[in-house]
């Protein structure tokens, strides 16, 4: 339901038709499918599907995000993010699991929280011998 429903999903979830323009925050506990135009935030606890005809100007946040349309804004997927060949993203993306298909346009910064953790873990053992060396010089 719009306006922040806490209970589980009921019904088909929100669908925004191709001839619909929305301004404001679209929030739903169920899936959201967008074929139209939205200026504002789009938030779902489940999945967001942005179809080929869709245009979103604002941040997008969900567990699973599939993009075939155009997005100007940051996108956060706590689970999987898929950018289809027709997808166009101008903004930063944050995802655990990312798939960008050939033909898609992505202009922005990509952050993968899990990947960053792994990199930090790899860097840590390299620093310790350096400390030892310093100690020997003293």
């Amino acid at each position: 339901m719009l306006g922040g429903k806490t209970a589980g999903p009921s019904g088909p979830g929100t669908v925004v038709g191709a001839n619909v323009k929305l301004v404001g925050t679209l929030q739903d506990a169920s899936d959201i499918t967008i074929h139209g135009r939205i200026e504002g935030e789009v938030i779902s606890s489940q999945g967001i599907t942005i179809s080929e005809t869709a245009y979103i100007k604002g941040p997008v946040s969900a567990e699973i995000v599939t993009i075939a349309g155009k997005v100007r804004g940051s996108i956060t997927a706590t689970g999987r993010m898929e950018i289809q060949p027709t997808g166009k993203i101008f903004g930063s993306i944050t995802s655990k699991d990312l798939s960008i298909k050939s033909g898609a346009i992505f202009v922005g910064k990509c952050t993968m929280p899990e990947g960053e953790k792994e990199e930090e873990e790899e860097k840590l053992p390299e620093k310790e011998p350096q400390k030892q060396t310093t100690y020997e010089v003293e």
Binding site: M1, L2, G3, G17, L22, T25, G36
Partner: protein, 249 residues
Amino acid sequence: MYYYIMESPRAKIASRQEKIKDILGNLGIAGETVSPSAARTIEELTHLGIIKGYSTIVAVGPESLVNKVITVLATQKEAKDVVLGVVPDDFSSQIAQKIGAKDIYVACNALKNRKLETIDLCLLEPNKYFITEGTIETFFNQEIYFGIDNLKGKALTNKIIIKPGLEAFFYDKSLHGSPVASFWRWLFGKKQKDIYSSFFKTKRLRIESQNNLPLKVSGETIAKTPFTLHNRSRILKIIVARDRIKKES
């Protein structure tokens, strides 16, 4: 215990009403029966039933009568514990499907068995309620402005269906395309993917348009745009049939 509000008796429905009274009598649930007249409206009769202390008020007749009874039951504080029963006149209607009544006998038996369900209602500002769906329909696509909670929107639509629970379906004539295109699709048996229809579930919905479009409930115009609807969840106890199969939404 039972208070029956029946349609004004006309020659057409008189025999049907007699049949209902017979069935109710045989089931042992006959009660006070009233009908609206020039002196007393359906709303006034419902109010009287509440004042008299009846625990079950039964609307016998069309959906428009049921919606009028519901409006009084939902707005009056004294009606908090009153249960609504329905004996529809058309068993293919939405209200008949909602309570699971296939015929007069099932509807009357349900009243005796008193299986209760708490249902959602749509509130049309300032004080009209309805249990069945409301429709706005035009021949051509119209530009509609709507507000949903903290969202404002504009849509091209030729039909809006609003169901209790405030589920709004916006249909768009663009889906059918030009007559030539729809002919070719029909000829080759191709189905067009529906990217034009919209669906929203909300607590509050405001609809505005350039022309005053009518909102029809059970074929009766109850409002014209602009209007505001609210969802009143689990507000009314209604008697349903025992063997009712719930429709998956």
